[in-house]
């Protein structure tokens, strides 16, 4: 079975997972649903041969879950606990959404994304901007790593001991390179006819396959179970 999914399915996954993430799990059943929903993007990551990030996310999530269930409760106080709460709070609450978002960002090509947006009749402005945002997170990470390297070569770490310089040594170079990349990006986009009056066509034919429908149904079912058992029963 090919693991390639339609971008619309992926967006739907993000939507459902984010909605579920906002509602906290209270009973064991809800936890099971939630963990199952987290496992699906993890499996998909493995299917896309992104073993390293799948492993990393699995470990992070597992540790957070274990900690939450075994050590933390309403009564926990103290500095260590509050740091742990910090970590677990982020991890348990937001990792499902983060993993899904990561999976989508890393495996969706921009042209696929754009043509999916076009099929859903999203205004061009929002579609283009969102596509750029999606593409840009990895770029920012790379650029930031290069800037850190460059600064280390000059013997500057963390603002050279002066926290106020941190902004000047990190954020300003980052902004410079991002603005330049943006200019290149818009040149490339215009070359490909973005913003023209004509309806754009795409090389990728978007089609909802069987695997797409299975996932869509699965996520819908999971979300309904979650909502019904939390609010109705």
């Amino acid at each position: 079975m090919s693991a390639k999914l339609d971008p619309r399915t992926k967006l739907y996954m993000i939507l459902i997972v984010s909605a579920v993430v906002m509602m906290s799990a209270t009973t064991p059943l809800l936890w099971v649903v939630r963990i199952a929903m987290t496992l699906i993007p993890l499996i998909l990551l493995v299917a896309e041969k992104r073993y390293a990030s799948a492993l990393r996310f699995t470990i992070l999530y597992a540790i957070a879950l274990v900690l939450t269930f075994c050590f933390l409760s309403e009564e926990s106080t103290g500095i260590l606990q509050s740091l742990l709460i910090g970590y677990c709070g982020i991890a348990v609450q937001f990792l499902p959404a983060l993993i899904t978002a990561w999976y989508v960002v890393r495996t969706t090509k921009i042209d696929e994304f754009m043509s999916a947006m076009q099929r859903m009749h999203v205004p061009d402005g929002i579609a283009i901007s969102l596509a750029v945002v999606m593409r840009f997170f990895p770029t920012i990470k790379e650029e930031y790593a290069s800037i850190t390297d460059a600064m280390r070569m000059r013997g500057i770490s963390f603002g050279g001991g002066r926290p106020s310089k941190m902004v000047e040594y990190r954020m300003i170079p980052l902004l410079f390179s991002c603005v330049n990349i943006g200019d290149e990006l818009s040149a490339a986009a215009i070359t490909r006819g973005l913003g023209g009056k004509v309806k754009r066509t795409s090389v990728e034919e978007l089609r909802l396959r069987v695997s797409d429908w299975i996932l869509i149904l699965g996520f819908t079912a999971a979300a309904s179970v979650f909502v019904i058992f939390k609010y109705v029963l």
């Binding site: 740091l83 709460i85 983060l98 283009i128 969102l130 596509a131 945002v133 980052l174 603005v179």
Partner: protein, 196 residues
């Protein structure tokens, strides 16, 4: 210059600066898990931290709609990262008002930009909205999610209907201060380089 509509170049700038602004915001947002008072302190930290990228963005804004689209994107991202949909209308409204203010200064007058950025920053308070509107169930959610009662008590002591007005005002003022700092940084680094 073509005044009619936004070009792909504008959309790309919006995307880039939204991404940067979100990264900055996220870096500080994580701190909030350490202590709830830091959550309340977002109104000070985020406008100041985001000021430099935003002031650079303002130099690129020339047409109506860019700030509005940015606020829509922020609302979408906040939803995707699990912050809820309750704040979305406020986020978009603050973006729209900020856009109108900046437009009244033709996107060039600095005092209008300061005001506009101050208003734009009010979206940060939109994140507090679930805490205010659904206070009881939100507290229960937090406790269920593994937060301690202490954290919740502090959170609700810091953010409640009485303090929200103060938080809004502080947020606006910090936005204005941030605008001056950001403008100074932009002038120092970018205008000489010919980017701004």
């Amino acid at each position: 210059m073509d005044k009619k509509g936004l070009t792909p170049k504008d959309f790309i700038s919006i995307g880039i600066f939204t991404a940067i602004w979100f990264v900055v915001e996220f870096a500080f947002g994580i701190l909030g898990y350490i202590h709830p008072y830091i959550v309340a302190a977002y109104v000070v930290m985020l406008p100041l931290a985001g000021a430099i990228p935003m002031m650079l963005f303002y130099t690129k804004v020339e047409k109506f709609g860019m700030l509005t689209i940015m606020s829509v994107l922020i609302a979408i991202i906040m939803f995707v990262t699990g912050m809820g949909y309750l704040g979305a209308p406020i986020t978009i409204a603050s973006g729209l008002i900020a856009d109108l203010i900046a437009k009244s200064g033709n996107y060039k007058k600095f005092p209008k930009t300061v005001l506009s950025y101050g208003v734009f920053c009010l979206w940060i308070c939109a994140n507090y909205f679930p805490i205010l509107v659904t206070a009881d169930s939100y507290r229960q959610d937090l406790v269920d999610a593994g937060y301690s009662a202490e954290y919740c008590d502090n959170l609700f002591r810091a953010i409640n209907p009485r303090t929200i007005a103060v938080l809004l005002i502080v947020c606006f003022i910090c936005g204005c201060i941030g605008a001056f700092i950001g403008k100074a940084a932009v002038r120092k680094h970018f205008e000489k380089a010919g980017i701004a």
